[in-house]
Structures are given as structure tokens and as C-alpha cells.
Amino acid sequence: MRNRLLPLLVASLPCLISVEAREPVRDLKDIQTLESKVAAISAKVLPATVALLSERTGSSGSGVIVSEDGLVLTAAHVIQGAESILVVFPDGKQVQGKVLGANYSRDMAMVKIQDKGRWPFAKTGNSKNLDAGDWVVALGHSAGFDAARTPPVRFGRVISKGPGNFLTTDCTLIGGDSGGPLFDLDGNIVAIHSSIGKSLSNNNHTGIDGFREDWERMLAGETWGSLSLNPFANPEMPVLGIGMAMMRGVRGVIVESVVQGSPAAAAGVRTGDVIRVIDGSEVRDGRELLQILAKRQAGDEVKLGVRRDRGDIEMKVKLKRRSELFE
């Protein structure tokens, strides 16, 4: 067993080092340090992790308070169809919340507690700089509010980034956790729970940076976007604006067409070009190209390595939202 795993360990040494730079677990002492952080965060953020119940739709999700006057961040599908929502604290105390705005494409929404008070709240952090291997802590009212227990704490790490503003962790989630907070080891909110796949390592969260970008619009009560569990159909998906073709024996993605006014057109990509490298990673086929793009966001600049007329050229492309191009 050990022997078989050893080569894998050696092969991944460069990655290991980058992980270690963040939060190493080289020995028991490192794990103990990790534990003390997780325990401290859990106790601190628990009072700000609320359940959101809609009497109208009969749904039950979670949310997290981010300001003393009771602004709550949650997932858009939690407040879907509701104008007001019951905000329930871990100790059962319940107050009324007003649904503000939502961006369904990013599964983000805001709720404001209507009662006056000084509410427990958590601070927001950053999500864009998260990477596979970063430790995170998840809370949420799993399976709905349960008066007999506090919202369960789960510990894990980022497994994969994307699509777009989303990220995937191995903090196991279940129905009712939706809208609940994901924290980094400083106790800052880095994402909000959104969906799960079958694998225990497939728990998806919408990044806090997306909230920051859409903050004012949501606060003002604006609702937009569409909920899509298919990342490639998501209106926020970053695109180059090309049609792709594949040919046996050709490594890379053949540009079959270029959409007018697209980022690819602006950068000078032409029909017949073969995209072989994106940001230093080799691209073997269209699927891989989409996979890499899904980890970027609209507004990001990517570097394309393109084969044209037996020569290699490099181009910089600033990505746009799918909806900017195809609507």
C-alpha cells in the first residue's frame, strides 16, 4: 500500500510545497494548530449562522449575518418565491426578515432582519485567492432548523475552483445547508453553500467575491440572472467567443468560427487557428479548454498560445460573460 502510493507522492512534490506554504500538516503539531483554529472559529461564528424559513414556499435553508444591524447573506434559491422570510437563530429566537435582491446566476441573495437589534455577525473575507488544499469550515442548519442542536460544524478543504464564482470543497453538505457560510481559518466568510453532487467531495459554494461585486445591486433590491446547475449554460460563464472544431490527430482546439464583437475577435483570433496553450497549461481538446475557462471569471485576462500557419503566436484575451455575447 505504502509502496504504491510513494511514486504519487514524489510526483506531486511541487504541489505539496505550494500547499505547505498555505497551511501545512507536516506533523502532529501542525494538526493541533489547525484544530485550535477550527475550534475557535466554530464557537465564534455559530451565533451568526441562522436558519431561513419561508412559510409561503415551505422551504428551509440557512444564512449568515454580516452586519450588526442584521444584513443576511444566503443563496438565491433559498429565498426564491418569498418576499419575507423567518430568520431563526441557533437558540430558536425568531425574527422577520425582508428579502432584498438576488443574482440567480451566482446563487446569491440578501435578506435584512426587520427587527431592531444588535445582531451577532461574521466578517467577510476573499474567495478568488482560494486554491485546492485550503482548509475551510462549514456551518449550516442541515436538514432544516432543529431546536435540539446547534448548526453542525464541518471541516474540510477546497478541492476545485470554479465554475466562475463557485468553488468545490469536501465539507459535506445536505438539504437545509443552502445559504449557510463557509469560513477560512481566520474566521472570515469566503463562500455560501449552494449545491451538492453525489461524491462526498462534491459540495459547491458561491464565492464571497461575487457578493462584493454585486453588493449594491442586491442591497437595492434588484433581482436578476437565472439558476443553472450546468456551469456551461450559466450566463456568467466566461467565454472567448469562438466556435470549436476537433480533428483526429490535431492537438488543441481548432477555431471554426469567431463571434463578432467577442473577446477572441478583439484579440485577433482567426478562423483556422489552433489553440494549444492557455495560461501555460496545455489544451488537448475543447472539453479541457472549457474546463480551464470555467475556472476564470469575466474580466480576467488569459494568455492563449495559438498555432497559425506552422508558427506559434501568443495572444492576450480579456474574457466576457456568456450573456454579454449571446443575448
Binding site: 422551504s59 437558540d91 435540539a148 471541516f155 453538505l173 451538492i196 453532487g197 475556472k295
Partner: protein
Amino acid sequence: MNKSILTVFGLLLLHGVTTADDDIPLLRPEERRAVEAQTEEFQRSIAPVLKEAANSAVRVWSGKRRLAYGTVIGDGKKILTKWSEVAGAGPDLVVEGAGGEAMPAVIAGVYEDNDLAILETNGTALTPVRWSKVVPPLGTFLAAPQPNGRLAAFGVVSVPERNLRETDSAFLGVIGSMDFDGPGVRIESIAPDSGAAAAGLRPGQIILKVGDRAISGLLELRNSLVGRAPGSRVNVRVKTGADENDVEVLLGNRPDLPSYPGDRLSTMERMGGPISKVRDSFTSAIQSDMRPRPEQIGGPVVDLKGRVIGITLARSDRTRSFIMPAAAVEKLLLTAPRDPALAKVRQEDEMAALPVRRAAMPNRVPDGGGAERLRQHLSEMQRLMEFMREEMENLEPER
């Protein structure tokens, strides 16, 4: 596509969950490598705390079938294990110790309430476990060893110790009105023979306080009873018209009402692998996010100092496992177990007894024949490899 959103609906929704692809669609090779290396590093670093407890962990077999783990207690010839997993075993029940020695065993006693059984062996004495009195707080790291000293499961304290048996919780006997906005709870009806009935509470009255605590609504009313014992008395501030007065109520036991998780939630509970047959209603349980497999239940659980803080009771669902704290185990062991000939296995819910429904076909739009088929094959192979990797990780020697 292959995901499921996480709100819980009170209604039974029969659609909306597809559990087709279980791979992570955007996982890049470099991400997979980083995470795998980290897992390996973590398992190596935590190994020292497992060592002592692993000596008291055993595997329980029925012939060639792995049933459960067990924890060595008493004189080293008694094993505590999970009753529902060993109940159906024949005369070929075998206990395998940390050193690989196999000993025939018989079921000597059963604690039905917590789904535990005591096995007795007549072989050499194994190392009995040393229980710790430590009560691990929220967020504490917990680890369950395999008998060979490797890590079986890791998790944190998700929820500190509590009693999961509904009938042990205090019951007021008030059914609140759903269409009352508060503050307080308007009484819709009173449960017959309840403390509320005996105290003379009536429909239409508004409950403002329980003890010293102001009640904002139904959920807080329920929460205000947590930590109060059936049989104890509590003052309830009641408003009748414009009058307010205190009424003393003798709390009863919550009646045993079956609850169904709903089809949608029930599907999610099973997303991520097999779960224990008996997985709820334990009288003393720490909730953890650790992920032992059902046949790894019954062994010791340690903290980062290697202290045995309890034993695993069940893998309950995708997000939960339950651990019985050491103090509760010790207390239980002072009571007389039931004769296994008379003991029953709890039938928890009919849902669990049913075969898991086949997942809906992926609702993917077919696009481009051959390429799509190839993509599908690749994704299936990836899934297979994932499965094999998991199996390898949990690899335990065949006997």
C-alpha cells in the same frame, strides 16, 4: 446538471435530484494531485495518536463478511460492537485483533437502546481500552483508527453530546397556531393528558415566557424546553385577553411520533455511500462529520492526544456520524445487558429498508455522437478510478 440544490422542502418533491455523475466536473489534474498529497500527509501526521487505541480495536467477521469494528473492554475477552450489524450473524462470528489473531466469539449481551452488543471470546486476552473522561468541545478533531493503526475516519465535533431520543425530551403539550405572528405563541390546541392540559392552559391563550425566557415564536418555544427534563416543573407566563399570569406546568415526555425525512432529503442522505441500518435515537451521542463506512462502526474514537473519548455508533448520512462518549459507555456498561435471545434489532424507518431508488437518467442534451460517447466513457472511467482509489485507501487485509 448533476447537482442538487440544498434547500429542504416541507413538501415531498419527487423530482429535482439527479445523482448521475459523481465526479467533480472541473477537477484539474494539478488540483487532484495537491489534494491527494495533502490527504497522504495528513494521514501520516495523525498516525501517532491512533497507535494506542488501535490496540483495542478489533474487526468483527461473519465468515468472510466484514460486519463491524469492535472495542476491547473489561478483561480483554469482551468486545463492544454494533448490535444491528452482528445480530444476523451465524455461529461463524469471529473477532480479529490488532495483531491479526482470529478468535471465535459469541454474542453475550445486548443494549438495544444504543444498538450495542457485547461479544465474548475464549482466546487470549486483548488489550482493553482506556476510557477518557474528557468531553470534547465543538470543533475538536476526532479520529477513528483501523485495527492495523491506519486512519479509518477523521472528523470534527459538529455538535456536542446530546440525547437523540425524542421521547426523552420534555413536552409541554401545546400546539401553537401557525398564523400568529407573535410575539409569543398563540395556543391552537392542547394535547390530551399533557402537562399543559393538567395546568389548565386553553386554546386562544398566548404564551409569552417559559421560565425567564421570552418566547418569540414556535421554534423558540420548542428550543426553550431543550435541557429541561421530563418530570420537572416550569413557570409559563400566559396572556388571556389583557391579563397576564404565571402557570406552573409539569413537563411530560414527548410522544413517539414517526418523522419522515421526505424523498428528496432521503436521497441526499445516501449521496456519498452506504449508511448504517440503525442510525438514530441514541440516548447519548456526539455528532461528527467523520465518514466511517457501516462496517467500520463500533471501534474507538480518539482526540489529538490519543485519548479514547468514545466509540462510533453509526454512520448516519452524508454529513453525520454519531459517537457515544466514553463516560456514557462506562455508565451503560454498569447496567445489565439484555439476553441476546430476547433482544430485537430496531427497525428505524421503512425508507431505509427499501432499496435505494435508481438515480434518474442524466438529463444531458446529446451533442455530437462519438465525441459525447467518448466523453461519457472517460467520465465513467474517472468514476471507476475514484472508486478504486477510495477502496485502496480503506484497504483492509482479507482474512
